[in-house]
């Protein structure tokens, strides 16, 4: 099985979801199917709105799927799932969760985890996740803030 590439993207808390949208857009533009995983319906609603409005020039068609629903992957190239539900056919998992489940992340070819740089607890969780992912053989990349997602994807051939 192909090794998962995990991107640990550093971001200040206040820009977190805006940065998330830029990464989703970059992957979508590169022709990848993207699943965004969130913890709650409130978070899903928030990101749903932001994906339509975060940039005047972008267009990222997407849908929100509730836990337990079957997703037709042909319908939308980007989905927001409430809860860590594995959706086959999606290439990239972008996690909006502070501490995502490693097994879940490793089921996708590419995973994106945001390291919230101004939250000590979350930084520690990210550190533990990094070490565990390294031990499991994932290919890890640290992306410092600020970064241009499109350029990073190009340089890593993702």
């Amino acid at each position: 099985m192909e090794k998962t590439t995990l991107l640990f993207v550093q971001t200040p808390a206040v820009e977190g979801r805006l940065v998330l949208c830029r990464w989703v857009e970059a992957f979508h533009d590169a022709g990848r199917r993207v699943q965004v995983v969130v913890e709650s319906s409130v978070a899903a609603h928030n990101i749903d709105g932001l994906l339509w409005t975060f940039s005047d020039e972008s267009f990222v068609p997407h849908a929100v799927v509730a836990s337990g629903k079957v997703v037709d992957e042909r319908v939308e190239p980007v989905v927001i799932s409430i809860g860590e539900v594995f959706l086959p056919g999606f290439h990239v998992l972008v996690s909006d969760m502070g501490a995502p489940d490693l097994d879940f992340l490793l089921r996708y070819p590419v995973g994106v985890h945001f390291v919230v740089q101004d939250d000590a607890d979350q930084r520690q969780q990210s550190r533990l996740l990094w070490m565990a992912a390294r031990d499991r053989g994932a290919v890890l990349h640290h992306v410092p803030h600020p970064a241009v997602p499109r350029e990073i994807l190009r340089s890593l051939s993702l």
Partner: protein, 185 residues
């Protein structure tokens, strides 16, 4: 042992001492012929003796009986790694009737539902200990709680470190305990 036997042993020891007097010094190198080695009869026996498996007289099920000096089944846990009976596990893991089932995957990463522990329900333990992750973020569904209550299976849901201690104590006490452990957050 008789005094005659002792004498015999002493004589033999002295004899062997004098015989090997010339070779007392350590050689710079020893070459052993490992082809002539034999298995030690008692190697590995102690661990097996720690656990007695008996047949439960009423239900006809195997149960592990705690015995004095019995080692912990789960030797250690740290974030994303659990050591069980000398093997390291990096994926979530279940223990049912003393058997280890690595790679426990749930339909949702941080939620445990009925389907995720179907094999535990079939084994019908007295107690199910769920390790909810290092930070205890995992959730047990109301459906699963209801089914466990219905079947008289006690549920202990704790952060994984505490759950490991609980599981080990119950296992040592001879309870029919099953465990399901989430190893990360």
């Amino acid at each position: 042992m008789s005094s005659k036997g002792n004498e015999k042993t002493t004589k033999k020891t002295e004899a062997s001492k004098s015989a090997s007097k010339e070779s007392d010094d350590m050689l710079p190198e020893y070459r052993f012929d490992y082809g002539k080695t034999r298995h030690i009869r008692f190697a590995g026996r102690r661990e097996r003796e720690d656990v007695t498996v008996t047949l439960h007289p009423v239900e006809g099920r195997c149960r592990t009986e705690g015995v004095k000096g019995m080692a912990d089944m789960i030797k250690g846990y740290r974030f994303a790694e659990m050591s069980i009976q000398g093997r390291k596990h990096q994926k979530d893991v279940k223990i049912i009737d003393g058997r280890v089932f690595p790679g426990w995957w749930r339909r949702e990463g941080h939620a445990v539902d009925v389907d995720d522990v179907q094999d535990v329900l079939e084994a019908a333990p007295e107690i199910l200990v769920i390790g909810m992750g290092q930070a205890g973020r995992m959730e047990v569904s109301p459906d699963l709680r209801a089914i466990l209550a219905q079947r008289g299976i006690e549920l202990v849901a704790e952060p994984t470190e505490a759950a490991v201690a609980t599981f080990n104590a119950l296992f040592k006490a001879g309870k029919r305990v099953a465990g399901a452990f989430h190893l990360t957050c």
